[in-house]
Structure formats: C-alpha cells, structure tokens
Symmetry: D2
Subunit: 337 residues, 4 copies
C-alpha cells in the first residue's frame, strides 16, 4: 500500500483524494491546504485522515510515501522539489512547472534519488485516448495528416496563467502520446479581453519534422463547452468528442477526390461525411482511477510512468514557445530541443 499525502483541496484535489481513498493500492494519509474550511470539508468526507495548512508536514511525515500536488502552477516546482528532496514519490498537476528549466530540474532530482515523478496528464488514461493511440500506432489511420482540437470553456477566467497553459496543455500531452512525436516549431495568436489579464482566447499551430500539422483552439469565453478532436490520416479519420455521452470516438473511412470527375465532386459537395463510420464501444473506467493504479505500479516496479517528467517537460517547452509566438502575433518560434 502506497501511503499518500495530497497538497491542495480546491477543485481537482478532492478527485485525487477520492481516488486514492478508494484505491486498493493506496492509503490516503493526509491532506494539506492553506484554507482551513477546505480541510474541514476533507475531514467530514474522510474521517480519520490528517489535515494541515503546512505542506512541509507531509514531507516530514514518516508514514507518507508519495505526495500529490494539486495547487496553482506557480507552486508546483517548490513543492515538488521539496517533496523529492524529502524522499517522496511525486504526482504533480499539469502543467508540470512554470518553466521548462524547472521541469528539467525536477526530472534530475527524481532520477538522482530514484523516485517516481509523474505528471497528472489525466487524459492519457482515458479509454478514448487509449483507443486513439491504438488506431494511430497500429497504422489503422495511415500516415497522419493533422491533429485539430477545439477545447473551449464557459467564461471561467484564470488569473495566473493564460488559456494555452490552462487548456492547450491537454492536447500537448495527447499529441505526444497518440502521435508519438513532438512539435519542432509553433505559431500562436490570441488576445485578452480583460485589461491586465492573461490571454483568454488563443490559437496554436504546431509544425513537426514531417508534414503533420496540429492546431488547438482554446477559449475561456464560449457560449457552449466544446471538446472535440480530429485526427486525420491517409487511410482513416477519427473524431473524438469528449462530451458525447454515447459515441465519444467515431472512425471514418476516408475519401479524397483529386480528379475532375464532376459527378464525384458534386457528391462530395452535397455530402455530409465520407465512407462508413464505426463507433467502438469504450470501457467506462474513470481515468483517474487507472492513473492512480499506474502511479502505484510505477512506484513499486520503478518503471517510468506514461506521463513521466519528460512528457511534462516537453509539454512546457511547447507552451513556452507558444507564449513567445503569441507575443509576436503568430511569428514562428522553434521549440527548444
């Protein structure tokens, strides 16, 4: 049993605590949060766990093996470093840290101490993303042409990071995991509609070494929530609609018409989709439950997590390049090697 402490009991922390508490591989030991009202709530729901307003109490506790950090991104580095230095395994919220340099520092620290360092890119553990990876990696989609994602939210503005760091972060991990490659250059545009606040709308294009292109549309100010991803290959295409209750993944046989046959052209103009469509049934597993199991496995076996520090580092490098491009209204910026 991995004995776990969680830092941060705001929006996401309670989900972590619940999954650690119900996992048969872990034991929830303690929760830290600056807000004592939140700690009181944690105590009501989980009688018997310890609470503290001081995260250092968790690092010092001999009965804690691993720490999960679910705080604003600006605190990730200090807390994760202190945890590693105290010999704890770490699961840290995404984005992993506020800079790529900080990410690298954490990776090195964990390596030196032979501790598990995992980033909470939860999407990687969903049945839908697993299915997309299968479809791409088995070659069923053919050569990958593009990844196109729309991820827009309902008017919830963050004040510490811009919308790319809040929402595009999901796609960056999915792209690395599903396509198995990372961008070499980016172009980003966006704007803030609240004076002095970070960008609340942004568009990010990513270029790769080959002719794959990726694009992410993120927005905190949409009338309807949208979570839709297209992956198109030379053989088939996938539509992933996270909010669709019954058909999250649809796979389409593809058709391209390059010739001048007017009848074929008219058919494509008049049509609404191409080829047969197939919507595989997906397991109903909660991603976070799978992730918690995987975290326990990695700690016990010493293997690298799917969402290890390297993935967290790659994601932050792209976000840094994107922020630079954003400041130059879309000028292409190389992603640091």
């Amino acid at each position: 049993m991995i004995k776990v402490g969680v830092i941060g009991f705001g929006y996401w922390g309670p989900n972590l605590v619940r999954n650690f508490a119900t996992s048969d591989r872990c034991k929830m030991v303690a929760v830290a949060d600056l807000d004592s009202k939140r700690l009181a709530a944690a105590e009501r729901s989980y009688p018997g766990i310890r609470t503290t307003t001081n995260p250092a109490d968790l690092f010092a506790a001999a009965d804690i093996d691993a720490v999960a950090i679910s705080t604003p991104v600006q605190y990730h580095f200090d807390l994760a470093l202190a945890a590693l230095q105290a010999g704890k395994h770490v699961l840290v919220e995404k984005p992993m840290a506020a800079s790529a340099a900080d990410c690298r520092r954490l990776i090195d620290e964990a390596a030196k101490r032979k501790l598990t360092l995992m980033v909470d890119h939860t999407f990687i553990y969903t049945p839908a993303v697993q299915k997309m990876r299968d479809l791409v990696q088995t070659g069923e989609l053919g050569e990958i042409y593009y990844y196109d994602s729309v991820r827009v939210n309902l008017g919830l503005f963050q004040h510490d990071v811009n919308v790319l760091w809040d929402l595009a972060v999901h796609d960056l991990s999915i792209i690395e995991y599903v396509l198995g490659k990372v961008p070499v250059a980016v172009s980003a545009t966006g704007i803030s509609h609240v004076p002095g606040a970070p960008e609340n709308i942004a568009y990010l294009t990513m270029f790769f070494e080959d002719s794959t292109i990726a694009h992410v549309n993120v927005n905190w100010l949409a009338p309807v929530k949208v979570r839709q991803t297209l992956i198109s290959g030379s053989k088939k295409m996938v539509v992933f609609n996270e909010l669709e209750p019954s058909e999250k993944i649809k796979v389409y046989d593809k058709g391209i018409v390059l010739n001048d046959d007017q009848e074929q052209i008219n058919k494509l103009i008049a049509g609404y989709r191409t080829g047969d469509m197939w919507a595989p049934q997906l397991a109903g597993t909660e991603a976070l439950a799978a992730e918690v199991r995987h975290f326990a496995d990695c700690i016990e076996t010493g293997t690298a997590p799917l969402t290890d520090g390297e993935m967290g580092y790659n994601v932050v490098k792209v976000l840094e390049a994107a922020s630079k491009s954003l400041a130059q209204r879309g000028a292409s910026v190389a992603v640091e090697r």
Copy 2:
C-alpha cells in the same frame, strides 16, 4: 426585365441560371461554357436559351444587359473587364479576382462606366447572416470580442487556389458585413498534404484596430462537414450552425466569472452552456433568389450592392496578406490599406 447571360455552367453556374430563370425581374438569355456537354444540359433544362462556347458572344449581344461570371477565379478579371467594357453589368463569383490590384481595376472600370459590379458573396443574403448582422449592429451582443469559424469539407481538393481562397473567403465577407470592420493584420498557417498542390488545410487569425479577434479554420480533408461560426460579445453570444436544419442561429445569454467564488467556478466547470438560449425562427428564403433580386434592384436604381466591388477588394486584400503569412509559418502580415 434585366436580360442576363451566364458564363460557366459547372457546379455553381446552374444555380445562377435557375435563379435568373425563375426571377420575375430577370430573363435568362444565354449561357457560355467551354464544355459543349454542359451546354447541351443547359438547353435540355431551359429550352429556348442560347448557348455558346465563346463568352465574347455574350458581350457582343445587344439583348444582354448583365453578365454573371461563374468560372475558376483565374478567369474572373479578364471576363469581368471585357463585360464591363462591352457595357454590361457584372455579377462575379467570389473571390472577385486573383489579386487586389485586379479588383481595383474592375471597380474603377465599373465606376467610370456607371455599371453595377457585384460580387457573389452569397452568404450575405442568407437569413442567418442577416440575423447576425442585426444582432451585432443593434448592439444586442454588446462589444464584439471574437469571431470564430470552422468551415471544413470532405476531401474535395481544388488545384487552382488554396483552401483559404476557397473557403475562408466566405468568412471574410461575413466578417465585413456582420461586424462592419476589416482586419488590419493577419497570421496564417497551413500545409499541403499532396505534393505540389496548394495548401489543403489552413488556420487564419485576423487582428483589428480594436481588441476584436477573428479566426477561421478551413480544411478540405475532414471526415464530417462542419460549418460553424461563433460570435461573442460582452453581452451575448451567437452560434451559427449552417448545417443544423432547425436551429441555425442560437443566441446565448452570457456569463463570465472573474472572481474566486469556488461554487460559481464549479458550476461553470460542470456546466455545458451559459444563460438562457434563444433560437429565432429564420425565413426559409433561398439566398441566391434574394441576391438576384438585389442585383436587379441595384442595376435599376444605380445603388451600390451590399456585396459590391469594395467588399470583393477587401476580401482579396486579406487573402493576399494571408497567403504571405502562410509562406512564413504565421508571421504577422499587415493588410494593405
């Protein structure tokens, strides 16, 4: 009765011919096309009209008042210029011409001769776009924050122009008409997946003098056809889904949460939309029928069309800037004044 000749009887030409033929304001006189099989089809459907493989026959015909040009864009300028020089009013397919300079030349020629020059930006005449213009221009949406459009097609590749010139062209006219302003700079990215062919996928961000931002996602290689536009203002937001049979326009009351109230935040995170929604019923009018009537009105009264040469020119200027930016992987390019 405006007596009309149509040049080009491929995909769109037959729609023009049908609408001129059934209009009580116009009379279809002649059709020109290089392909005699198409001319035979035109004769079968419209017994009594003249046909010719030589467009010059239409310019020379004394019984033709106006010419509609529905050919590939590379021929627009020469044909429109010749028509104007022959004293004919002109309706030309969009984009108006292959360069802004050509557009300007046509505008001048029409002005000199006091002829009507109209560009077939059909969307402007749809009840949905009319409704969006009303919502914006009456201030019902408040200050406009962004325009965001996805316009993707099913595998139909053009070889003469890239996907921006084929699909983004619609949004450029809608933006000018609905928002009442034109972009000052653009950033565009995209790629071609067929060696030697024009870009089949592209992303275009447009900046304005104020803090409005616009973005268009265009793609010839999608598994499903999408035609969706969001316009967000400080008071309300509109979703325009052209393919939705019964609720093309949805208007949402808006909500933004800038504070730290955790309960409000959780509600927004868990929610799927904001505020009440209202879907006004739209008239079922065919846009092209309204456009043909408007063309006849403009010719008879000498007033400028909604989609006049200036709009066509503005649209092409943005397309030229976008093509430059595309070649530089998103670098910001100013739109010529």
Copy 3:
C-alpha cells in the same frame, strides 16, 4: 420510352413530373389538374407538355402508356379504374384507395388486362430502407423483436383522412417490405383536437403471428419534425433517422443482461448505448428516380413491382382495422385475411 401522363400537380405531383421528365426511360406527355394556375406553372417549367383540367383526356390519349395519380385518396379508385379500363399502366399515390375492397377491385382489373399496377410507397426505394431490408433478410439482426417508429409533423392538418392514413401508411409498407410479414391484429388510440376534424394524433400497435410487435406514433401537431424507426432483433438493432444528414442508419451490437450481476446492471443503467455502433454509408440516390426506373422496368417486363397492388391492399387493410380500433379506444381488431 414509356409515355406518361400525371394527374394532380399539387404537392407531390411536381416531384413525379420532374422525375418522369428527367428519366431516360420515360417521356412526360401531359399533366391534368383541376386548377388552371397549377397547369400554367407546369407549362412554364416543362415547355412542350400538354395540360388539361380533365383527367379523361389522358385516358383517351393514344400517345400515353401510363398514368400516375397524385390526388387526394378519395379520387384514387375512380381515376385508377378508369385509367386501367382505358388500357393504361397505373402508378397511384399511397394509400392506394379509400377501402380494401376498392384496392382488390383495382388489382383484379389490372390482372385481367395484364397492366402494371404500382403504388407509390416511395420509402421502399430509399437506400436506407433497402439497407434495413438487407440487414433483416440476411439474418444479421437475428430474430426480429420489434419495429418502433415515430413519425410526427409540424402542425399541418389534413381534412380528408386521419393521421394514420396520412403518416402511418409509410410504416405499414416499410414493415411489410423489411420484415417480410404483415400484422394479424391491431390496437389503435388517438384523438382529434379540432372539433369535427379527423384524428390528428394516433398510436398504432400491431401484432404478428409470432412474437414480433410493431408500434407507430403519428402526430400532426409536434414542435419538431421526427422520423425515427427502431428495429430490434435478437442479435443487433438498427436506428433509422431519416432526418439525420450523415448517419441515417446506425447498427448497434446488442446487449441484454438477464442475470443479477450488480456490476453489469449498473453499467447498463449508467450507459447510453450498447455495443459497437456502425453507420454504413448509403447511396445518395433519389428514391423517386429509382422508383420511376422500376416502374418502367415492370411495364416493359411484366414483372410485379416491389410496391404492387397487393402491398397497397395489405396496407389499406391494416388502416381499416386501425380505424375500427381507434373508434373503440384501443380494442384489439383482427386484420382481415
């Protein structure tokens, strides 16, 4: 070339005329309608065809081989009988006639004269219904459990027949064609909300010799148009949504849980659908064009149409039984053998 006259140029007649006119197997010769304004419209659209306010002119015309009858149902019998007696092949709108006895009479007359008698159950010629028949007849769905259809319209009230005769008529032909069997008893309920007018809402259950059950929900007073049919078998289930532009037919792998396994039960309760789903691409053919071709084939070869008089007769027998049951608030009424 089959030379055709059409009687009735109201709502559906123009579709018949258009399809006969564009078919390379038929030639449109003449149109009859009581309303001379409609005849003028027919002449405008089809220069060269003859028009008349007297249907008898069509029966008397030596240059007419076949007559299509698209009038209110009360006139079907007299017109079809006169046409047959004049030696014309007949295509008659559905329902075939106002009584089963009249249908039988027409069948006998056509048989005696070796003329083709076809009923315009257009749905039978749609790619979607053809696909459903394939799925059922090849056994892919397994033993058929039920057919369940919702067919509701927007406030368009007929005054000559009730809603069963107007809308359920489609399902009755689809059931016979797709399932390959006819009901033995019916129970129908419904009501009229306009005093003195026929029922505008009705529910029809049909029983068969085996344990298949069918139900049709028809309604002239719905806020949204619905056209959805479910066919469930012991192996798979089909959903046919006529109004869905891109996925008219969806085939679902099925799951039933008969045991007491709580986890399985919870999964079904929480789920939104069962098994994999597959949406085959359907041809974009216009049903009426296929039907017109089939009519010409049947006339030329003397074979019985898919939608022959017997199908028309079976449909009307069920409608008669349903009307009797409706008057008794659902009491079971046997369908005449």
Copy 4:
C-alpha cells in the same frame, strides 16, 4: 435533525444514503440490507453508521425517526406498514406498493398516526419537471393537447415487474404533477420476448375527462437510451430531453395550418420546427437533495409532501388498469375512482 434509517443498499439505496448523509437536515443512522457484502461497502463509505441484515432493527431503534425503503416493490407494503406501526415516518421507493389496495392501507395507517408518508417519485423534484409544471400551470402553453413520452433502456430486464411498473411509473407521477389531472381510462399493449418473463416492451395510452391524451412508450431493449417527453398545448409546446446536457427543456412557439394555402403548407412540409425556440437555463440542483430537504420539511411541519401517498396511490391505480388492458391487447380499461 431527522434521524434516518435506510432499507436496501442495492442500486438506488446508496443514492438515498449519500443524500441523507450530506444533508444538514438529516442524520444517517443505520442501513439494513440482506446482503452483508453491501453492508460492508456501506460501512467503508460511511464510517460510524450501524448496519444490519434485519430491517426490524431499524423499526425498533429509538434513535431513528424516519425510514427510507429502497427494496423490490413486492416488499414495500410490509416494510412500510411495519415502519409506520413502529411510529416512523416513511419514504418509500416508487411504485409505492404492488396494489392500489395496499397503497390505500398505507395512507390510512400514516394518517391515523399523523406520520409523514412520502413516495420517492424523484423526477418531481428536478428543475426540469418544476419548469414544465410552471409552464403548464401559468397557462403559458395554453390548453393541453397531449403528453407524449419515450423512455427506453438498454437491455436491462427486471424479473419482478413488467416494464410499465419499472419505467412508465415516472411519467404517471409527472403527468399528475405537471398537468394536474389523472387519467380516467387506459389502453395498453406490449409483449415479452423472454418466455415466462414480464413484458419488456409496452405502449400505454391514457385518456382524460377532457380532450388531453397521453402516451408512454417504454422498452427495456433499446440500442440507445432515450428519455424524451413532449407536452403540447394550444399556445406553445415543450420538449424535455433528460439526457441532453445543455438544453433539457426547449419551448417552441406553435403553428398550426388549417387552411388550404399551398405556400403555407409547403413551408410546414419542408420545415423542421415551428416558431421561435427558447431553452431556459435550469438550476443544477440534484433532485434527490431537494427531495430529502422536502422530506425533512414535511416531517417537521406536518404538511403533505408533493409526492404523497395519494400520488403514489393514483400512480398504482393507473398501472393496475394498464396491466389489465395489456392482457387484453389494448382494450380500454377504466381507471378506478
């Protein structure tokens, strides 16, 4: 604080326990279930509550004020009666009991002892049903023409009751609450596809004293889960789609065309909906939380619950009449007064 014991910890019981546990008006004291594994699960989730395999322990407990019964329907009567006789307030799952006579007996017992007797018709406490009641009771919909509901599930077969008792029960309570009236006669049809098992598909028409008609389509063997209700009035119509995440309630302005105006008729035939549509935002409250609060209120003030014994009794009377009609293939059966 109302001290509560819950009998039955299968599918629904845990929801009751969770809502009693988190309510600030109630205190969860004890859970009874025949299955000790379920009791162990209850103890893990709610450390400190008592558990027992004998419901009588709850009736005998001095520290229990109220008992909630969430068992198969066949046990409702005996358990509820014993609870009332022990002086406990009762919340009983729907349907209230296996016969109307049993329901009446429970009502009398509760009245005699001045105890609160409430039936868990949870839907009544949803924001959507509350909104529909408002729309009907304020006259906004006008005179009510029909209630039409489809409520179909994914292959989960019950063995103790037929599908009407399992699913139509929801609509019967909604009809009484929203329309404010009860049916006077019913016609029901249905069939069982599993030999010896209760009907798994059924259709129920309900007649009222006026010209309102109601129909419920219930089915345990559907490929997709559907929960859709239409209520149509002389002025407006409502569509309630429980599974739609963002627009559960849509209100449509209505249109009927009774005249012969061909243009109007064509518009309705071609259209997909009538009038403007309005989708009011609904509160995100969990119905069961509101219900638990209401239960506590009723106990404390002695007022009758919205879903009191009388509603439970009326619902069971209709179910009894429906079962009789079902056995006679739809013959009309009067609902007992």
